[in-house]
Amino acid sequence: MPDCVLRFPATFDAYPRAAEQLREALDRRTLDERPRYRVELVFEEVVTNVIRHSSSRHLSCSIEVDIRFEKDQVVLSFEDDGRPFDPRQYELPPLPQSLEEAGVGGLGIMLVRGASTHIDYERTRENRNHLTVRIAA
């Protein structure tokens, strides 16, 4: 059973309120600063990525985020009905060595990987993306 469930449209208009609800849920817990930051970061990066990809295809998409607080970790589960996307398969470009080399893509995924201990993905039978990210607490 999740400790907190957030459901909202995958739009930039809906995002600020959803992020605020996440922070309210975190305020009710006594998480250390570093894991708390990582939870917020993973939420921001995953959700805004879904929003960006669904808006670029002019599709109406919704997101559900389940948050579970366990003894040594926080488990975030994201489910959306956007196009299939497994972030584990995304090949990160090499780190840029100069401003000229710095590209646009991949930074969010890189930060999610750095903030988490484990990432799982499946495309469900209902044709939804289901992503689970574990963050050490």
Partner: protein, 113 residues
């Protein structure tokens, strides 16, 4: 996210950002930040001491502005990031692209070189 821009002397602009550099924060502040720094024609230092949170959106904003400023032969340096913000900048290897200094004095000396 709030932004304050002050000129220091003839050739330096200081920007103080307060709040969260997440997606809503960046969308709110980016136009003024870009105009203030890129069009300003001055070197710039950015105070991060009041920035509680940064995500990839905030990092991309700094990279884009730094690139534009470099094209105009002006320099950008950030300073005084909070510890968790600094960790994110580290994990993005951001310092290889834009200087992040301890304080305003170090940032000023770097951009005015």
């Amino acid at each position: 996210m709030q932004i304050e821009i002050n000129d220091i002397g003839d050739n330096l602009r200081r920007v103080t950002l307060t709040g969260r550099l997440d997606t809503p924060g960046v969308l709110g502040v980016e136009p003024r930040f870009v105009t203030g720094l890129v069009s300003g024609g001055k070197n710039a230092i950015v105070d991060l001491s009041n920035v509680d949170f940064i995500s990839s959106m905030g990092i991309r904003m700094f990279i884009s502005v730094a690139r534009n400023m470099k094209d105009r032969q002006t320099k950008l340096a950030l300073y005084a990031p909070q510890p968790r913000v600094d960790e994110v900048l580290e994990s993005a290897a951001f310092r290889q692209l834009v200087p992040v200094c301890k304080d305003a004095a170090e940032a000023t000396a770097l951009v005015q070189r």
